[in-house]
């Protein structure tokens, strides 16, 4: 009997020691979640180097985009398995809040004030992660938008896309293209302020929120834009698309051009490989003379979650991951994303001719445009409330179920009501 007891005691002791020893020996584990498969490639490649620099074990996990916020809430609620640092999309982020108590990630104000590197990040980009005066995240990219076009097809109807000045001219040419070749000019989904419409809308300079954060959806400029855009939709020159068939639309010659942020350029690769078409890039046609010739779409930021221990060190880690200059040109070379620090933009990698576009220097064009990205006042309610109300009404307007005036009026009323 006593022997058995002894054995049990010994076994527990051994187990306990083993457990503690294991804990004591293990390096600091930093759990990192990212939603973006194409960013993760960069992190995986740099993992060893980051681990070495900070003496940590970096656990990288790709959490699917549509389950990201839910999963974050769930693990933080349970207090287990939650990440220390996250990489999440900059638009429609759903986790930042003007009130730091309601936000899932901590404000970084005290760190960024002291940071020399952070001072180099374009202010327009930082605005996206600044809610209620607090900076919550470090932007990963800038995503300037260019126009990618199938020169072969456009030339076949006698249009030199390089000479087009405005969107109105573009759509006139598009009508000709569709009439003669049954080829669409642009991709388009009717979901509202997303993709093509979102990119062109930014060129108009219309703000959806005034300085006090009140929605301004029902303004004359907005009505004019929506009318203009619905008119373009109804002219039938834009192609319905899906994330899955996009590269096929280009490769099959169904669609002749698209507005593309840096991360989306690779959609053209399959079409280039067919060898049937010549592709070129240029700045966006203008909405109005003198307006901006580019915009921005997508993007991500890094932040520290509320439950994470040792935020001081974590801040150093995320700043290093996002902005260590030595590695930033790799982000462009491998992930094709323009880094947000202008101090690295004169690197050789950006000056390479791009064989996909007949040797055009895409990198230089993107850098030039990145400096001109228009600023939008989104605040912390834009994506969660105002854009939903706008999009809901816009789908009805686009389908011809309500007039532009009535739809925007309703959207404005709903957005106001939602704000209470």
């Amino acid at each position: 009997m006593s022997r058995r007891k002894l054995a049990v005691v010994l076994l527990t002791l051994v187990l306990a020691v083993a457990l503690f020893a294991n804990n004591g020996l293990a390096k600091d584990k930093v759990v990192f979640w990212s939603f973006a498969a194409n960013n993760i490639e960069e992190w995986e490649a740099r993992k060893a180097e980051i681990e070495k620099k900070f003496g940590i074990t970096l656990v990288i996990e790709n959490v699917p985009e549509t389950a990201f916020v839910e999963t974050l809430q769930a693990t933080m609620m349970a207090g287990i398995d939650y990440p220390d640092i996250i990489e999440w999309r900059i638009e429609q982020n759903q986790i930042l809040d003007a009130d730091p108590k309601k936000s899932l990630v901590i404000p970084l104000d005290k760190y960024v004030k002291k940071s020399k590197v952070f001072a180099k990040v374009p202010k327009g980009r930082v605005a996206w992660t600044t809610y209620g005066g607090h900076v919550y995240g470090l932007p990963h990219d800038v995503h300037p938008v260019v126009l990618v076009y199938n020169d072969t097809i456009w030339k076949s109807v006698g249009v030199d896309m390089a000479k087009i000045k405005t969107w109105d001219e573009f759509f006139e040419a598009a009508k000709k293209l569709y009439a003669e070749k049954k080829v669409y000019a642009l991709p388009y989904d009717a979901a509202g302020l997303a993709a093509t419409m979102w990119m062109i809308w930014q060129q108009t300079g219309i703000q959806v929120l005034d300085d006090k954060g009140r929605p301004t959806l029902d303004t004359p400029e907005m009505r004019e834009f929506v009318k203009w855009w619905v008119d373009k939709i109804n002219s039938g020159v834009m192609c319905n698309w899906d994330w899955g068939n996009f590269s096929a639309l280009l490769a099959n010659g169904t669609m002749a051009s698209y507005t593309s942020p840096d991360w989306w350029i690779s959609q053209v690769d399959a079409a280039v490989e067919t060898g049937k078409y010549e592709f070129r890039v240029r700045d966006l046609p203008l909405y109005k003379e003198g307006g901006p010739r580019t915009s921005s779409w997508g993007g991500s930021f890094m932040a520290i979650t509320r439950l994470a221990k040792n935020p001081d060190k974590l801040y150093k880690i995320i700043e290093y991951m996002q902005y260590e200059e030595e590695y930033l040109h790799i982000r462009y070379k491998d992930a094709k994303m323009l880094p947000p620090l202008s101090s690295v933009w004169d690197h050789e990698v950006f000056k390479q001719p791009d064989p996909r576009f007949g040797g055009q220097k895409l990198g230089l064009l993107q850098i030039e445009l990145a400096k001109e990205i228009p600023w939008i006042n989104t605040g912390d309610i834009f994506w969660d409330a105002v854009s939903i109300d706008f999009n809901t009404q816009f789908t009805e307007i686009a389908a011809g179920n309500v007039s532009v005036e009535a739809g925007l009026k309703e959207a404005q009323a709903r957005a106001l009501k939602r704000l209470k």
Binding site: A37, T66, A67, T71, A74, A78, G244, N252
Partner: protein
Amino acid sequence: MALSKPAPERETRLFGLTRKITAKIKAKKIRRGLAIGVMCFIALFYLAPLLWLFDTSFRPKVEIFNVPPRILQGPPWETFRSYSLESFKVAIGRYQMHQGFLNSVLVTAGAIILTLLVCSLAAYAFALLKFPGRDVIFYCILATMMLPITTMLAPLFKVMQSYGLYNKHIGLILLYSTSAFGVFLLRQYYVRLPISLIEAAVVDGASKFRIWWWIVLPLGKPVLSTLAIYQFRYVWNDFLVPLILLRSKNLHTLPIKLQVMDSITIAKDYDAMIATGFIAILIPIVFFLLFQRHFLEGLSGSLKE
């Protein structure tokens, strides 16, 4: 003479009659053939989306969105040349579809086994044993059939977290095995088991547990397979509950894998999704073809009484 005259007449008349009959039979045959043809056509049309899925799951990504479908562009045997297993490779390599498959199998098998054991034991007590409160408890269990779990998503999520069963397969398995329908179905069957066998066992001094294990369970095989198939269809295809309860990639079941693939933007791999969908529906279809009778009985067996 007198006879010879009407003979041809009669013959022609007879001939005409048989002709009429054969014509009628012919018409009937044509009508029958027509009906069969029309029904077969409708069935084929009905299955067209599935056939398209089967076809495209072996095609390269660029051919998925061909209009008209690739198989109709030129002679089919020639289009078969582009067949490959590439989409399955992408599904396995990039999305660990095989792991999703194993997870689905694990959860489904676990849920079926546990459901059968737990429900059968309870149904045995309700059907063949006498104890105070039996009928009240039974009706209470029946009433829980009206408590669908999906209306209580948020509480379910919180409760599973408090049990420490969030993001665990065992949590799902336990959740799935609370099948009031199962208890009900088995009880209805056990009530009609030949009582003499059980009485004989009682005389032999067998314990109640042994009677369940050695007599009731084997005798109830048909109804157990019905319940197993019912659970199989439910668990294998269930989506919403694992969607909110499983978070780790390596625990995702096939439907969740599909949702994850769908949530990827930039370049959505529809080829991998189609391949995964193909696997996800292939298993039930194979089972169905093997055990057709049980599948259909599960639906309609009780009606025959």
